[in-house]
Symmetry: C2
DNA sequence: GCTTTTCTGAGGTACGTACCTCAGAAATGT
DNA sequence: ACATTTCTGAGGTACGTACCTCAGAAAAGC
């Protein structure tokens, strides 16, 4: 059985090609009952528009933007690399993705940037920015103007139809909790939690999930208050050193930010022998080495390539008013150890 | 900068559209230096064929076949489900995948089946069958006849350009070894390994990887010889019971086949209290429940959806004589625990 | 009934590529 | 220099869809 075309549809509905076209691209000037006849025929013969042909005729191509913070973070570098890579593959489908850097801490600037986007130039945006009312508003206005938007990795509380591309941070924290619980010594001890900042939703959720598991199943472990590095090497060194001095019985460390380098370097300086169990996030050249040298016990990661492609596929599907394959777009919380690197 | 078309290419090369066409679809009757002029122009202006338009003109669609064993295995059911699902998404790109069931133990039948495939009807095949010279030969003849083939999940030793879609089983076994080592009691004990059969490469490799890690890092654990269930409930029950009787100090179990149900049921009957650490493979409704009820400690899985889509993408790329994005097609060895389910 | 408005059909062109034919140019052989 | 072969160009049609125009049919208003 060959794929039905618009001609088949026209014949099946007993109308002309022009009318079929009017219905499909919901142009005006078709009586309601005629529309119904066509939609019924679509169901009946199982018509599905050939999107490639449609895009060809429309001379349509898709342009998507990734709004990313401008830091030198290794994980971010990975993301940018994957975006470039994705462009290779998606070029065949007339899609291309670009990166725009923003100051993640300036919601106003982000909102302005979004407001300035031209629907003729950009079809969709993946936004990685901390939660804020300004960005939230700008996002919904974006959608009104016909630019699709998804929350990428960080941020916005997703209500209803809004889409979030990234992992469930509560579950990620719980996963870390379970691993620490199983990897750490089975005797009373303290667990150090290190974050860049605890002011971000993501961090809070991870910590919450972490505490729940430890609290429920590993009562011999005490989780210390989260240390905040603020991305400052000196500060990190200082607070980590202080923690190890104050708590000689630290048996586990959970680095919950996506930049594990600073905390890990600080830890190595403080504990050569009898090292604690260490769980960190994201796969970067640094954490990979850490796993191989057994400094890190496990990583909790989300595949940056998958994140990028998923965001693009979701934006594309929304442009086409199509559903996505939910199972494909679910971002997995991956556990990485030396053996499955 | 707009995407260059064949007309742009013709102009840039200083030849006619017809000649460009001859070169692009390597038809005969073009002098070598003219070919060179065109290929140089392709480089120069960065021409890339619009595959959608080409397929439209050719009325080309892709039909792929998954050759799967005919067992009632839950993991296989998952695969079949994902193939159906993938069809939804890939329909837009004029691709469709079908399942053909084979007797996996009859290489001759498989070879005959492959030999009977018509290149006009089928563009590519993903073959899940144990290694055998017959299948191996049939596969290479398939390729000669213009049907692409990839080894799917099971089997063939991949030499050189041959493609394998699935995980590295040695690494998967090693991952299991590491997890058992970390999850089991830290005192001397025995580890039970249960397989459907040890005659398959996959099983051997997993066992090998498993033993390496245990041998190197967990000398207090003794890995028992692999039990083979042959998919027989009674036999399974019998040999598992015997093992637990003979070895009261079993502290870990590694179920290395993709059908964990029988072994797990046998284990539960034998050890209510003080259960051993259990690692199994593949996510199925059964193993998922096992994780949630804490009967299973961790699962080592490969995403069936990813497997299916990856096989399809690879076949498609080979049909188009294109490269694939290696990073996207790498099948990850996933570790699943309750928290990241 | 008539006019006015709303709807529909027929036909065209275009998108970028494939594939066909045929005439004529260029290279080759003698 | 000629015949012969090999190469090239020009032009066409097609794929499935979008989008345009215009004529005429059907419905609505009076």
């Amino acid at each position: 059985m060959i794929r039905p075309t618009t001609r088949d549809l026209a014949k099946a509905a007993g109308v002309s090609l022009a009318t079929v076209d009017r219905v499909l691209n919901d142009r005006s000037g078709v009586r309601d009952d005629t529309v119904k006849r066509v939609t019924e025929a679509i169901e009946k013969i199982g018509f599905a528009r050939n999107i490639s042909a449609a895009n060809l005729a429309r001379r349509k191509s898709y342009r998507f933007l990734f709004l990313l913070p401008r830091t030198g973070d290794q994980f971010l570098d990975q993301l940018i690399g994957r975006i470039a890579e994705a462009n290779l593959g998606f070029a065949a489908e007339m899609m291309r993705a670009e990166v725009a850097h923003i100051h993640e801490s300036d919601p106003h600037q982000i909102a302005n940037f979004l407001a300035a986007l031209d629907p003729d130039q950009v079809d969709g945006v993946a936004i990685m920015a901390p939660e804020s009312p300004q960005v939230r508003d700008a996002k919904s206005r974006l959608t009104e103007r016909g630019i699709e938007a998804v929350a990428f990795l960080s941020g916005q509380i997703t209500t209803g139809s809004e889409v979030f591309v990234g992992i469930d941070n509560h579950a990620a924290g719980a996963t870390a909790g379970r691993l620490i619980g199983r990897f750490a010594e089975r005797q009373p001890g303290k667990i150090l939690v290190i974050a860049e900042t605890m002011r971000a939703r993501d961090s809070l959720e991870r910590r919450l999930g972490f505490d729940e598991v430890i609290g429920a199943d590993y009562p011999h472990l005490t989780v210390l208050p989260s240390l905040e590095t603020h991305g400052d090497p000196d500060r990190t060194e200082r607070i980590v050193t202080a923690s190890f001095r104050n708590h000689p019985d630290i048996t586990g460390v959970y680095v919950l930010g996506s930049e594990a380098r600073l905390p890990l370097q600080a830890i190595t300086c403080n504990r050569d022998a009898d090292p604690p169990a260490i769980i960190a996030h994201e796969r970067t050249p640094f954490t990979e080495t850490g796993l191989m040298t057994r400094q890190i016990d496990a990583l909790i990661t989300q595949d940056p390539g998958h994140l990028v492609r998923s965001a693009i596929r979701i934006l594309r599907a929304r442009c086409d008013r199509r559903e996505v394959l939910a199972s494909q777009e679910k971002i997995r919380i991956e556990i990485l150890i030396r053996e499955n690197l």
